[in-house]
């Protein structure tokens, strides 16, 4: 981020904003563990199946218990993940964070509710689109699936450690983010 895009309404600002946005999308994608190390061409292919959605502050992205269809990537803004009875907060996600990725594997019910805290721009990657991509570009599909499995494996490891600690001490002595 070398230049700030705070040139108000200038002609040049408008011309370059488009390109800047594109770069921004790709840098955000490249930073995600799911798309780590993919080529520019592959990232463009992924970008093509992403849906970009704008949310107002306080809008529900999805409800706990709804069938999950895919994952969301925060491009801008803050999203809160809350557990439904009692609305206690599990996590607060900002730019570059992602959530709901388990739904890429199977249409499991959402384990928590996601609500926007501020106005947000979210990228959505949906299972049907991912399956379609796997059909059309199997090599790229395998790469994404491998990274997805790795991400989930890491989380399973963390959960296992937490569980072991819990079994030994009677309480988890760390602060996992609970998801």
């Amino acid at each position: 981020m070398k230049s700030d895009t705070k040139q108000p309404n200038s002609l040049w600002g408008n011309i370059f904003r488009g390109r800047h946005k594109e770069e921004n999308i790709r840098t955000i994608l490249a930073r995600l563990p799911l798309f780590e190390g993919l080529s520019k061409r592959e990232l463009t292919q992924i970008e093509r199946i992403l849906h970009l959605r704008e949310f107002r502050a306080g809008e529900t992205v999805f409800l706990q218990g709804d069938p999950g269809l895919g994952m969301y990537i925060v491009e801008r803004g803050v999203v809160r993940i809350v557990q439904e009875p009692g609305k206690n907060m599990l996590a607060e996600l900002t730019e570059g964070d992602f959530f709901g990725e388990l739904a890429l594997l199977e249409e499991w019910p959402r384990s928590a509710t996601a609500v926007t805290e501020t106005p947000c721009r979210l990228f959505c990657l949906f299972q049907p689109d991912l399956l379609d991509l796997i059909d059309r570009a199997p090599q790229l599909g395998v790469k994404i699936l491998l990274r997805l499995v790795r991400t989930i494996g890491e989380r399973l490891n963390t959960t296992n450690e937490l569980l072991q600690r819990l079994q030994k001490n009677g309480h988890p002595d760390g602060t996992g983010n609970g998801r």
Partner: protein, 355 residues
């Protein structure tokens, strides 16, 4: 109108107002669409066809081709096939048609009909039918057909523009279909977004299987009919087979139409009922094969419709869009069934009201 009667009242009048406006917009849309009927028909056919072809494009893409290249390859091979069919099959069909005309003109048919009348009179004397006047009736029917053709000669203009515009539509639907859907999805409010995506996906799966199945089934049925009629030595076997295959989109109509026309032609042709039994047997066998082997493998059961619903759809389709409408009405009705059912199911699964 007094709006300041409280927020709840305001909300409900607002909702009713929006509902009425929505209805008016829908009605206007329906009127508009029915006034550009021809175009709607073209677009619907183009969408259905590009839908049927899509898996081939996906297969080519998975071999590393870009979508555009895949589309171009498929498109040029289809064009080539169409040209080949026009060059090879069309002359045969035209020859068959003109030899029917010839037979009618030369009085051969009248002689045959007289013989047939005698034959029927003899065989079914117990029914008491003496003067059938088959020749007169056939001539009447032919006159009506001829008049109809003259009346609809103007349709040729739309047919030709269709033949030019249609490939363009199919090309772009095939190439950019996903992009178009994504653009449309972009306009859906966040609240209905996941619901709609899930709906589109479910419809896509079921409808794709259904349409491809129907298409394949009609194709196989047609080919089998052509082969059977050719073996039995029925004249115009190509034409009858094509009609039977297309009619088979409508349950039961394929074999019935095929057998009826084939029997008529063979009786007129030979003047005897010699091959009637074998023609009926052949179509019964093909129908059996279709029901027992082809349909279960090829056609998705999930969209299977009750014959009565199919019949209704065909009548409605024929009323609004003519013969082509009758053929298209079956897949379109299947589409509507899937849309309706999946909307309901999905509405229950997503607790939209809880937002």
């Amino acid at each position: 109108m007094d709006i300041r009667t409280g927020p709840a009242m305001e909300d409900s009048t607002g909702r009713a107002f929006r509902f009425v406006v929505g209805l008016i917009v829908l009605a206007a849309l329906a009127v508009f669409l029915s006034s550009i009927r021809e175009l709607v028909r073209l677009v619907v056919i183009a969408i259905l066809l590009s839908y049927i072809i899509d898996p081939i494009a996906v297969m080519l893409e998975s071999r590393g081709l870009s979508r555009t290249k895949a589309t171009v390859i498929i498109f040029s091979s289809i064009m080539l096939a169409v040209i080949l069919i026009i060059l090879l099959v069309l002359p045969a069909v035209v020859r068959e048609l003109s030899s029917i005309q010839e037979a009618v003109r030369s009085g051969q048919v009248n002689a045959l009909l007289a013989r047939l009348e005698l034959l029927i009179g003899e065989k079914t004397a117990f029914l008491g039918a003496s003067n059938l006047q088959l020749a007169g009736r056939l001539n009447d029917a032919l006159m009506i057909m001829k008049n109809w053709m003259i009346e609809h000669a103007l349709d040729m203009v739309t047919l030709i523009t269709g033949l030019i515009i249609m490939p363009v539509f199919i090309f772009f639907f095939l190439k950019d279909g996903r992009e178009i859907i994504k653009q449309i999805v972009g306009y859906i409010p966040n609240r209905y977004f996941e619901f709609s995506l899930s709906l589109i996906h479910k419809m896509d799966m079921q409808l794709g299987n259904y349409l491809r199945g129907q298409f394949l089934d009609a194709l196989i049925f047609g080919v089998l009919s052509i082969v059977a009629l050719w073996v039995l030595g029925v004249r115009f076997f190509l034409l009858i087979g094509i009609i039977a295959g297309m009619a088979n989109l409508i349950p039961f109509l394929g074999p019935v139409a095929g057998a009826t026309i084939a029997v008529l032609i063979s009786v007129l042709d030979t003047g005897t009922f010699a091959s009637t039994g074998s023609i009926i047997m052949a179509f019964a066998l093909i129908k059996l094969l279709d029901d027992a082997v082809i349909q279960p493998v090829v056609v998705a059961r999930s969209v299977a419709m009750h014959p009565l619903a199919v019949l209704l759809a065909i009548i409605i389709g024929g009323h609004f869009f003519g013969v082509l409408g009758m053929i298209l009405s079956v897949p379109v009705a299947g589409f509507m069934k899937v849309v309706f059912r999946e909307s309901l199911l999905n509405y229950r699964r997503f607790r939209l009201s809880a937002f």
